[in-house]
């Protein structure tokens, strides 16, 4: 990473523990033998704030967190194709509010499961290669966006099964897209990052009519006039290696590469010339032993804390919005040695889940400190 000029250095968080909060392991599940790549709480529907889903191998499993560290299995789905390996899962819902689980993986298929009726709702065929991440638009939870190895990001309507937009082409990613995220308030805006070491911010403002059209489309989904969004509004070279996770923090972006840290930066766009602009790196959240790719972090509902696992099975919980950043907790357990691919933080941050390479799910609960 390039040196910082004087006066534009980021504030780097200290790894000294603040002891603000303490977490204890309250449960540990062995889901199967295959690595688990994703775990995610349902933040779409407040009824299900304690429900989470995991994916690994050809399975999608739905759990519920109960008091006392108890986890209940609610539903389990298995793809008949044994070669499927799901990489990502996200909660969404139909326009009538039916909860959907959207999962994607190595086959490039996106499976939309109707958790309300425990049936497959739709399967989206379109991506030319594995799907690396799926995220849901919180303002319109029937819109999901997927990042794929085929170098594209696609916007789907789970209600009608339409591929609305494809973010790819002349200004698109030059290698696998690993992560994508919706802006929390600007409904037109998404950020994606990937193996071409860049983070790209896209706007679908000019294409919004197509998004609206997708809700009322009654013809075959394949006849929908899917549009290509070829030019991002901003391209940031913040990292010098694979960027495997990015999330909006308000108008800032949190992103991580394999440099043992999460970086918070502000994209400064020039309105006149789209695509150009500068990056102001504001803060850094060090995460030791986090130098392999495909490790993703997660935040609680209000973005107060972010949890990220590392290569050695430890979890770092950072207070995101304080300056300088404060390390809330460092979670470690003698038996947790396997790389943690993804964490999930519950609505209020009191529960942290981690899913590991060895197929285990760990539940950590905040302990009230006197």
């Amino acid at each position: 990473m390039a040196k910082f000029a004087l006066g534009s250095e980021p504030v780097v968080g200290s790894l000294a523990l603040s002891k603000k909060r303490d977490y204890r392991v309250t449960n540990r599940l062995q889901e199967g033998k295959r690595p688990l790549y994703a775990v995610v709480f349902n933040f779409i529907d407040s009824r299900y704030f304690n429900v989470f889903a995991t994916v690994g191998g050809n399975r999608v499993t739905v759990y519920q967190c109960l008091e006392g560290g108890v986890i209940a299995v609610l539903q389990s789905y298995i793809d008949e194709d044994k070669d499927e390996s799901f990489y990502t899962v996200s909660w969404a819902c139909n326009i009538d509010g039916t909860p959907f689980i959207v999962a994607g993986g190595i086959n490039g298929l996106i499976r939309v499961i109707d958790a309300g009726s425990e049936k497959i709702h739709k399967s989206f065929v379109g991506h030319g290669d594995s799907v690396n991440e799926i995220r849901t638009q919180p303002l319109k939870p029937s819109l999901v966006v997927s990042a794929s190895k085929d170098e594209s990001v696609r916007l789907w309507n789970v209600h009608t099964g339409i591929c609305i937009l494809i973010f790819s082409g002349a200004g698109g990613h030059r290698n696998e897209v690993l992560s994508v995220d919706f802006h929390p308030s600007d409904i037109y805006r998404i950020a994606s990052c990937g193996m071409d070491n860049t983070v790209k911010i896209w706007s679908m403002k000019e294409f919004w009519t197509y998004v609206e059209k997708s809700f009322t489309w009654t013809d075959l989904p394949s006849k929908f006039p899917t549009k290509y969004v070829q030019f991002p509004v901003f391209i940031a070279s913040v990292h010098s290696n694979y960027v495997d996770c990015n999330r909006w923090l308000g108008d800032f972006i949190l992103s991580k590469s394999v440099d043992n840290e999460i970086v918070l930066w502000e994209p400064k766009m020039k309105d006149q010339s789209p695509g150009e602009g500068s990056v102001d790196i504001l803060q850094k959240y060090p995460v030791p032993e986090c130098d392999i790719w495909f490790i993703k972090f997660s935040c609680d509902f209000h973005y107060n804390a972010a949890a990220i696992g590392n290569r050695e099975g430890k979890i770092f919980v950072w207070e995101l919005q304080s300056s300088p950043p404060v390390l809330i907790a460092k979670l470690s357990h003698a038996q947790s040695k396997s790389p943690i691919r993804q964490t999930a933080v519950s609505f209020d941050g009191s529960i942290i889940l981690s899913c590991c390479e060895d197929g285990t799910i760990w539940r950590w609960d905040a302990v009230a400190t006197s």
């Binding site: 509010g97 082409g169 002349a170």
Partner: protein
């Protein structure tokens, strides 16, 4: 998966180095302490500003997440209503689990009663304390298998090739690979080519650095020592720091003055387009408009192409049969009608008569009259109306001259003698159709005469000389006309003009003196007012310099003409000749009315004649004279060339050398064509010649250029075999170049183009016209994706174009390495400069697979100066068949799967025009 560590942060080192140098001297210490304190201040400011921004962001985000929370709960309330209709299984399971956990023990009976139909839906929730394998706890619901797509990378459809944009380049960029099959992680990089220069990139100074620099300089001055320590502090070189400081000082000074200026600039910006003159406005046009594709922002040839000005210009466009209907309420025709003054100048009439009567024998008067008709536009017209004039015979001429006198008398003071004018005569004069026709006949007759003149050798050179200046700017023609009419002694003015240009010509062409003097004699009586006369070209230029006030007065109620409007008018005159209707409508729409234009046209012309005596323009004149001479020379050469052109048919030597090159080419790739800007016939300096390509229609050189590809004369063969020189040279026919090549368009409802040849349509323009077959994309029978044909076709039928990004060979090598790793490549060697890459941009034909025994072949074809790849049927192909072609790998580059079956077969044909490279079964 991958592992890659990296050390970051280097702030401490900066500090220590500063500390180190601190000990050098007491003075240094002082400096450093100043720098240090400023630095600390900057750092403190920075952390404060970050804190503030984080806080702002937090506040904003709090509102956002609260809103989202509301959304997620709103969902709940609305949903509870419909949950009556169908019970949500997830909710049910959730409740079961909760009940179970709470010990209420959701009994079977309870569930049966509440929702018996759900029971079929599998087991209830299972509670897990710890270490219970989940796998078997719940009966999983099967997701039926869906067939996945063969892998591909998202690509953009291109219907024509595009040049790679800069930011697409992979050269000099680091790429990290990982090996999917190798299990977890494997990052490799092509270390041999790794040039990581980006660290060395010049970093621009950030605000804070400027601040430190300014503050330090303020406190300590800017001695070498200070510079040194500052440089160390910024990790830059001292001279860099010094240079920056100088810039800062300059800026500071400028700031005070420019603050006001800025505002003005902004105000002006809104209207800046209209304030510019045409040249400035055209600048962006020149940069953005592709003259080969006739589109803006051409993706194939790019922006900022070299401007090639053709040595030969198009004749000014004349509406074939201009209607006499006024073009609008402000048309000069209607205005004139109302203002018509029945003033007849007898001299004019005489003039016309003079012109028309002598239809044979070349006398001095005739020359004079020809001059009067002011060659350029007349000649141009003659060219465009050749067929017309050819059909009109002597009878017409005599007729016309007979009837000419009548209407001619009634003309207003403004028009005569030149072709457009004669038309005006018809219109404004008596408004009789007959007269118009008559006028046209006059025209024809004049053209005829001119042609004859051109043919006669003696006069020829003179004529051209006289015409030259006017030819370049047709407007001069109208100037002359105006002189004719507005000045009472029209002859006086006119002949000087021509005399003048003649004289200029003499400076370039000595050989014509003899003729010249002849002519001078003929009109010697007119020359008395000679000296102040300007060449017609000069007149044009002067126009721009004319005081606007004059115009104001003359144009009366009208706004003054802006520079851009004048520029547009000039261009319009170049394009449309003297048609004010067309100029106003097409170029000055909304700015000037036809009447305005008409007035301006006439007034500027008359002004010229008035200003003749004005010596003030001598400077301008001199300037433009110099200019003219350069231009004129090329003009002459062109003319000479044209004469020669008749000698060179397509059988000429030039043609043979081309063919030779083609046969010689063999293994060499074709050469990329770039238009040359030669203004004369191409000599050794010609870029095309040096590059080994033919000149094309986009070159600046005249058509007579020996290096031009001459096209074909085929008719019956329809350019389908090697008999056709175009076909033999792997080129498509070009209707602009070939003699007989044409195609009909549409179903004939829009009329049929003038047929050339003997009604045989050319069959060698399919890429140009995109006459391609429908290709379908589907799962290949062999591997991955495949391309299929929708309808059956015959042998050698054109199927479609293989499009892609045009990239350099260097780029292709680099990309090829990446593609080879993925065993998927869509590179196609196009010519010596470019490789086509269809990886991210292309069309469906990129999915056609390789076969040693293919049913298609690819061919690189030159289409209108560009190389393109056409895919053709090698044999009859039935509808629905998969398309294969031989990728023709260079033997050493072929991947294993392509090598095995055809080791001998393809090598034999290595000389074939196409050679695809490393392509995978996609």
């Amino acid at each position: 998966m991958a592992s890659k560590g990296s050390a970051s942060k280097s702030d401490p080192t900066k500090d220590s180095s500063v500390m180190g140098s601190q000990e050098t001297s007491g003075n240094g210490k002082e400096i450093l302490s100043v720098i240090d304190s400023v630095k600390k201040q900057v750092a403190a400011d920075r952390s404060v500003s970050i804190k503030k921004r984080m806080e702002d962001n937090r506040q904003k985000l709090l509102g956002v997440s609260n809103h989202l929370y509301k959304l997620s709960t709103e969902g709940r309330t609305s949903r509870t209503n419909d949950s009556d209709r169908s019970i949500d299984l997830l909710t049910k399971r959730q409740k079961d689990a909760l009940d179970m956990h709470n010990g209420v023990d959701a009994s079977n009976g309870d569930r049966d009663s509440s929702s018996s139909q759900e029971d079929a839906h599998a087991s209830t929730a299972v509670l897990l304390g710890s270490n219970v394998p989940v796998k078997n706890a719940v009966r999983p619901i099967k997701l039926s298998e869906v067939k996945r797509l063969p892998p591909y990378t998202t690509w953009i459809f291109l219907d024509r090739n595009q040049r790679m944009t800069e930011d697409q380049s992979v050269v000099g960029r680091r790429r990290i690979y990982y090996d999917q099959n190798g299990g977890e992680a494997l990052i490799c990089s092509d270390s041999e080519e790794e040039l990581i220069d980006d660290e060395e990139e010049k970093r621009s100074f950030v605000e804070s650095e400027d601040y430190i620099l300014r503050m330090t300089a303020k406190e300590t001055g800017l001695s070498d020592e200070v510079l040194e320590s500052l440089a160390q502090c910024f990790a830059r070189s001292p001279c860099e720091v010094k240079a920056r400081y100088e810039i800062l000082i300059k800026e500071e000074k400028a700031v005070g003055g420019s603050k006001n200026g800025d505002n003005e600039d902004i105000l002006q910006n809104g209207n800046s387009f209209l304030d510019k003159d045409l040249d400035a406005a055209l600048d962006s046009f020149d940069n953005l408009f592709c003259r080969r594709c006739l589109v803006f922002d051409c993706r194939l040839h790019g922006c900022s192409q070299d401007l090639v000005f053709p040595a030969e210009k198009q004749p000014s466009w004349c509406p074939a049969d201009e209607e006499n209907i006024p073009c609008g309420p402000h048309c000069y025709r209607s205005v004139l009608k109302s203002q018509r003054i029945a003033r007849v100048s007898s001299s004019m009439n005489g003039d016309l008569e003079e012109k028309n009567v002598p239809s044979s024998g070349f006398t001095g008067t005739q020359i004079l009259s020809r001059k009067k008709s002011s060659g350029p536009s007349a000649r141009k017209r003659a060219k465009s109306c050749q067929s017309e004039s050819a059909s009109s015979n002597a009878k017409n001429i005599s007729e016309s001259s007979d009837s000419e006198n009548g209407p001619g008398q009634d003309t207003t003071s403004t028009h005569h003698s030149s072709p457009p004018k004669t038309k005006l005569v018809g219109k404004c004069g008596i408004s009789k159709r007959n007269s118009k026709r008559v006028a046209e006949r006059v025209l024809v007759c004049m053209q005829k005469r001119q042609k004859k003149m051109l043919a006669s050798d003696d006069c020829d050179s003179f004529v051209s000389g006289g015409l030259c200046p006017g030819d370049m700017k047709p407007k001069s023609n109208s100037c002359k006309e105006n002189e004719d009419t507005s000045s009472s002694s029209h002859k006086n003015v006119k002949s000087p003009t021509s005399g003048r240009s003649r004289r200029k010509e003499s400076s370039t062409q000595d050989g014509h003196k003899f003729v010249q003097s002849d002519v001078l004699d003929a009109s010697s009586n007119d020359i008395n007012t000679d000296p102040p006369a300007t060449s017609s070209d000069d007149n044009l230029r002067k126009e721009e310099f004319v005081d606007e006030n004059v115009y104001k007065q003359e144009l009366g109620d009208n706004k003054p003409w802006k520079a851009i409007e004048k520029g547009l008018f000039e261009k319009g005159a170049e394009i449309f000749g003297r048609s004010s209707c067309l100029i106003a409508r097409n170029l000055l729409n909304g700015m000037k009315t036809c009447w305005d234009v008409f007035q301006y046209m006439n007034c500027s012309e008359s002004k010229l004649s008035c200003q003749v005596g004005d010596g003030a323009n001598s400077l301008v004149e001199g300037y433009s004279k110099g200019n003219n001479e350069v231009r004129r020379r090329s003009r002459f050469l062109r003319r000479r060339g044209r004469v020669r052109r008749l000698k060179y048919t397509w059988k000429s030597a030039a043609y043979h050398s081309i063919r030779k090159r083609i046969t010689e080419r063999k293994d060499q790739p074709c050469r990329q064509y770039n238009p040359c800007g030669c203004q004369t016939a191409c000599g050794k300096q010609c870029a095309c010649l040096q590059n080994g390509t033919c000149c094309e229609k986009y070159c600046g050189c005249p058509k007579s250029c020996k290096n031009r590809f001459r096209g074909c004369h085929c008719a019956k063969s329809q350019c389908r075999s090697r008999q056709c020189p175009c076909f033999a040279a792997d080129r498509e026919c070009d209707p602009d170049v070939c003699r007989n090549c044409w195609v009909s368009c549409g179903d004939g409802t829009f009329g049929v183009p003038s047929q050339r040849g003997d009604n045989y349509e050319c069959r060698n323009m399919k890429l140009l016209l995109k006459q391609q077959q429908r290709v379908l994309l589907g799962r290949s029978d062999v591997s991955g994706w495949g391309a299929f044909l929708k309808n059956s076709v015959g042998k050698h039928e054109y199927l479609g174009e293989y499009t892609g990004e045009l990239i350099s060979h260097r780029e292709a090598d680099k990309r090829g390495k990446i593609y080879d790793r993925e065993n998927s490549s869509f590179l196609f060697n196009l010519n010596d400069q470019f490789v086509l890459d269809a990886y991210r941009k292309g069309d469906k034909l990129k999915f056609a697979n390789h076969s040693p025994d293919p049913n298609c072949y690819a061919k690189v074809i030159m289409v209108a100066g560009d190389h393109r790849v056409g895919i053709f049927a090698k044999e009859r192909i039935c509808a629905g068949e998969e398309l294969f072609y031989d990728y023709r790998y260079e033997p050493d580059r072929a991947p294993a799967w392509a090598r095995k079956p055809e080791a001998s077969g393809s090598k034999k044909e290595d000389g074939a025009p196409s050679s695809g490279r490393a392509k995978k079964l996609a």
